[in-house]
Structures are given as structure tokens and as C-alpha cells.
């Protein structure tokens, strides 16, 4: 499968993207030299702990970065066109977005039908009546009774509202959806339904999805490929099964081992733990950002930032093709 993917042209290509944060006296790197590709029809997971820069990457793709944040370098190429300078032309029409909290993602004073029609007619030239019909089709597609098209958002439950938000995101027929923690605010049973819906849409429509999450379980169950971010940098990227089963970066390895598993006798054992915590932007160390927490760190790790080796992992230990154990 990975072979065929390499053959097709990527839908989205991010290369050497850096986002800076202007904070009083300092300039801080919130996203640091990040490169990855998204292929048509795949779900790419962006995983990392809070502050790793995953949401910011999503916003940067859509050009939603506002001061005090700014893109300091790098290119974002979508469908062959550079969009990091002017995202507004593709924003919403080719790429759309789903936010974390469905309770506040919908305008409380507008009927969901009106919001859908507004979103459809922004990008597709059609009459109100046609747009209204399309809105009904969209609602049916995300699993909402189209007869509720004239209802207000507050009459829906959280999970149902997130379905409406997904319908909104689908309205302009995008080829890429960026879903920023779309299920974090939901209960697990509803979360499973929403993730299934996203998977189905990806399969049936061929829409690519960038799924931003902190939950390794969600990554494992939903994504095709995964990019692991640490302190604004890419730690590891690859097929999800491969990354989770045989991680090549010590951080990924620790992350996988530290994630609790549903297991009959896991309560008898201690979890694997990585010492310390991810540094704040102010305190990112020199060299590899992970080295103070890494058991394998050597002299080079402390001085030089590692590049991505074998298109897989940014770790000096892979320089000679060796494996961590």
C-alpha cells in the first residue's frame, strides 16, 4: 500500500514550515522546520502532547495564523499551488476544518439549515432552493434526519452537533478536511461514531483528512499514517501500524509504552514512564528537543538538531541505520 502511495502526487506538501510566536521580549519557535505530505484519500494523524504545535500546523495550512503568531519560513503546496502566502482562495473551498468543541462551533442564533446554505453558497454557485436541497442531502449523509433542517443548534446533543459541523465542513466539497481534536469533547461511545463517520467519508468520497489529536488510541483506530510531533518538531512519521508497533524514535517508543491499554491484568503492572515533561517554548533545549528525557542521548544529541532519517524519524541514533532497543 505504501508503495502505491509514493507513486501518486501528494495532495498537500508542507516543507520546512516554521511558525514563530512573538511574545513580549522574545521570538519563540512554535513550529520548527516541519515537513510532511498528505496523499489523496488518506487519513493522516498529527499526534503530540499539548503545546507540541499540532493545532498550529493545522491553522497554518488554512492561513488562520494571526499575530502574535506568524509563519517565518517554509512552503505549503496544495494541489500544485503554493498557498502559504494567500490561503483565502482555497480556504473553505478545497480545505475545510472541524473544531474541537461542537457546542460552540455553531452560531446559536441561526438555524442549522441557514448555516449550511450559507456555507454551500459561499463556494458553489447555486440558488437558495438548490442549496437547501443539498443541505438536506448533506445532513442525511452525516446521519441526521433531514427534516430537522430548520432546527436551532441548541436542540441537538453534542455528538449530533459535531455531525452538523461535519456537514458544514463537507458543504463546499473539499478534498482535504483538517479535524482538530474533533472528538475530545465527546463521550467515548459518541466518539466512536464520529470517528467511524469520518472514516466512511474518507473512504466513500476520497477526501483526505488530517486528524489532530493527543489520543494514541484514536490514532491507532482511525489513521493510515501518523506524524508524531514533539516541541514543535517532527519526531517520527510513517504508516500507523509500523510507527505504533515498531517505533524508531525514543519519544514515540516511550509514548506508545506509556499509553494505558485495556488489558485484564494491567493493573498489576506499572506503566512505562518517560521522565520529565515536554519543555515550554521558552525552554526548548539545544540540539534534539527530547534529549534531556532520552535514555539514549549522546553528545551529538545535545548539540545538533537531528534531521529526518530514512523519511521516518528525526533521531541521531538512526544515523548509521542502527535501531534503538
Amino acid at each position: 500500500m505504501s508503495k502505491t502511495r509514493e507513486m501518486t502526487a501528494p495532495l498537500l506538501e508542507i516543507s520546512h514550515l516554521s511558525v514563530m510566536l512573538k511574545k513580549r521580549r522574545d521570538r519563540l519557535k512554535a513550529v520548527d522546520d516541519l515537513s510532511f505530505k498528505v496523499y489523496p484519500g488518506e487519513i493522516l494523524g498529527l499526534v503530540g502532547e499539548s503545546g507540541a504545535g499540532k493545532s498550529m500546523t493545522g491553522s497554518a495550512i488554512l492561513g488562520l495564523i494571526d499575530p502574535p503568531l506568524y509563519i517565518s519560513s517554509g512552503e505549503i503546496i496544495f494541489d500544485g499551488n503554493r498557498i502559504d502566502q494567500n490561503a483565502s482562495s482555497i480556504r473553505g473551498s478545497k480545505i475545510s476544518m472541524i473544531f474541537q468543541d461542537p457546542l460552540v462551533s455553531l452560531n446559536p442564533l441561526r438555524k442549522i439549515g441557514d448555516q449550511l446554505v450559507e456555507a454551500i453558497r459561499t463556494h458553489i454557485n447555486m440558488s437558495k432552493a438548490e442549496a437547501f436541497d443539498r443541505a438536506k442531502t448533506l445532513l442525511a449523509e452525516v446521519g441526521i434526519d433531514p427534516r430537522r433542517i430548520n432546527a436551532y443548534p441548541h436542540t441537538f446533543s453534542g455528538g449530533m452537533r459535531q455531525r452538523v459541523v461535519i456537514a458544514l465542513a463537507l458543504a463546499p466539497e473539499p478534498s482535504l478536511i483538517i479535524a482538530d481534536e474533533p472528538t475530545t469533547a465527546l463521550d467515548v461511545s459518541v466518539q466512536a461514531q464520529i470517528l467511524d463517520l469520518l472514516k466512511r467519508l474518507c473512504r466513500e468520497r476520497g477526501t483526505s483528512i488530517i486528524l489532530i489529536t493527543h489520543d494514541m488510541g484514536v490514532i491507532a483506530e482511525t489513521t493510515d499514517r501518523v506524524a508524531v510531533l514533539y516541541a514543535g518538531r517532527l519526531a517520527e512519521i510513517g504508516e500507523t501500524a509500523s510507527v505504533l508497533n515498531s517505533p524508531r524514535h525514543p519519544y514515540t517508543k516511550g509514548l506508545v509504552a506509556a499509553t494505558p491499554r485495556i488489558d485484564a491484568d494491567s493493573y498489576k503492572k506499572k506503566l512505562f514512564q518517560i521522565p520529565g515533561a515536554m519543555p515550554d517554548l521558552e525552554q526548548i533545549p539545544q540540539g534534539c528537543a527530547f534529549h534531556p528525557r532520552c535514555d539514549f542521548a549522546n553528545a551529538q544529541c545535545k548539540i545538533q538538531q537531528p534531521p529526518l532519517f530514512e523519511d521516518r524519524s528525526a533521531c541521531w541514533l538512526l544515523k548509521d541505520g542502527s535501531e534503538i532497543s
Binding site: R91, P108, R110, T122
Partner: protein, 327 residues
Amino acid sequence: MLIIILRRLLQAVMVLLFVALISFLIFRFVGNPVESLLGQEATVAQRAALENALGLNDPIYEQYANFVWRALQFDFGNSYRGALPVAELIALRLPATLELAITSAIFAVIFGVITGIYTAINRGSMMTNFILSTSLVGVSLPTFLIGVLLIWLFSVELNWLPSFGRGEVVDLGWWTTGYLTVSGLKSLILPSITLGLYQMTLIMRLTRAEMLEVLRQDYIRLAVALGQSKRQVYFFHALPNILIPVITITGLQLGSVIAFAIITETVFQWPGVGLLFINAVYFVDIPVMSAYLLLVGFAFVVINLVVDLLYLLIDPRLRDGQLRKEV
């Protein structure tokens, strides 16, 4: 929905009764009705007789009930000065105050909302900064000073507009209006600006704050992420959501314009109820003070009620009685 209207009505009545209580307490205990009616030289017997006649020896709650009952029939007793019925005095002067208040409120709302939205949308522009800093000067200048300065400039130096009074008024029997004559309209300009300027800055600052708050909401961010234009974001999404707070503040300001008129009326010698009140305070004319309090209270309650009902029109969550539980 009916429940909400009922609840609001109930609250309005409670508020009015409370205001009436304060007004009654002032009337009954701060003033001295007997002395005011009989003068200092009355005998003890005369006083006792009048106390009985006025019901001053009745239980206090009965007196309060009487007070409310009489107020309902617009009977607020007689002014200590001139011994005219207070209701008559107020009726004579109310049109002047209301015309002034309405004119300045319209001025304040229109300019306040427009500049508020403008400064929120165009953050950081030269014009915005200019409007914002001017507004701070406006807030820092007491109303009376603005009035005095306007008079000095437009009446004394330029001699364009009259500096006091209502000009010629047309008597419609139960109402006198300055809207129908040129001198009446000219006389309205300076007092209205004076009265409205402060309210305008408040409305502007609130509209701006609300607009900025709404623009930070996730559904606005989503609309932007979905590529909707600025016009769509501002008018389809943001405007309905700032209406509620803007209506609230506007309603409240409309009410306070009536009370604020005290100052403006003093500066411009405007023959309204505010001037009546300030004279009452000078001369400790308690019945006028307490009646004025009731009048302003009544105006507020009515305005608040209208504001609450407007909410129901705007917010579907309120119509379903849901918001209360979420908050």
C-alpha cells in the same frame, strides 16, 4: 415562553413595589407631611388632628398600601413649595424631558452602534485609534462641562444656537412639543448632544467589546475557516449575536438618559422634570423627590420589560427556556 413572560412581569411588579417602598420611606420619614401642610406655628391639637386625617397613625404597612394605591392614581401629594399637586407639576414638565431624552438617545444609539462596530472591525486603524482616544476624552469630561463648553462655543462665540430654554413650543393640549418649530428644534441640538455624548461613548465601547468577543467565538473561526467572506461573517454571524447585549445597554442607557437629564437641564435651564428635581433637592421638597424617584423607576421597569421581550424574539434558546440551565 409564556412562563418567561410571566416571570418577567412578576419581577417588574416586584421591582416597582420595591422602588415604591423606598419612595414611601423617604416620603414618610424624611419629610414631615404635617409640618409641610400646616407650617411651624400650628398647635399640638391641630397637628394631631391632621396626623389622624392623613392616616399617619395607621399601621405602617397600611400607610404603604395607601401610598401605592394613591400613586396608582397619580396622587403624590402636594409640593411643599407652592402647594401644587406634584402630579400636575410633573405632567407639565414631562414633555420637555421626554423630547430631550428621546432625541439624545436616538443620537447616542445610532452613532454609538456604528462607531462601535466600525472600531471593532477595523482594529488598529488610524481612524479607530482616533475614535477610541476621543471617546476617552468624552468619558473623562463631566457632562456639565461639555454643556458649558458647547454653549460657550456655539452660543457665545459663534452665536449659532440658543444657550437656554426650549425655544417656541406648540401646545397640543396634553403635550407641548418643540419638534414643530424652528427655534424649538434649534434649542434641542446642544442639550441633546450634551446629554447623548456620554451615553454614546458607553454604547460604542460596549458594542465594540461585544463585537470583539463574538469575533473570537469558535463559530466565527469556523466560518472563516470555511472561507466565508468578511461581509458574511460580520452580518450573517456576528451581528445577530451582538444584538442582545447592545439592546440591553441601549435600554438601560435610554432610562439613564431621563435621569441624567438633571444635569443637562440645569446647564441649559431646560424646563423639564430634572430641573424640578434638582430644585426639590435644594429645598428638601420631599414629595417631589419621592414622586420623581417613582417616575424614573417606572420608566426603567417598562424599558427593561421591553428589552426582555425583545430577547425572546432574537434568541431561540431563550424561547425554549434553555439558557437558564446552561448558564
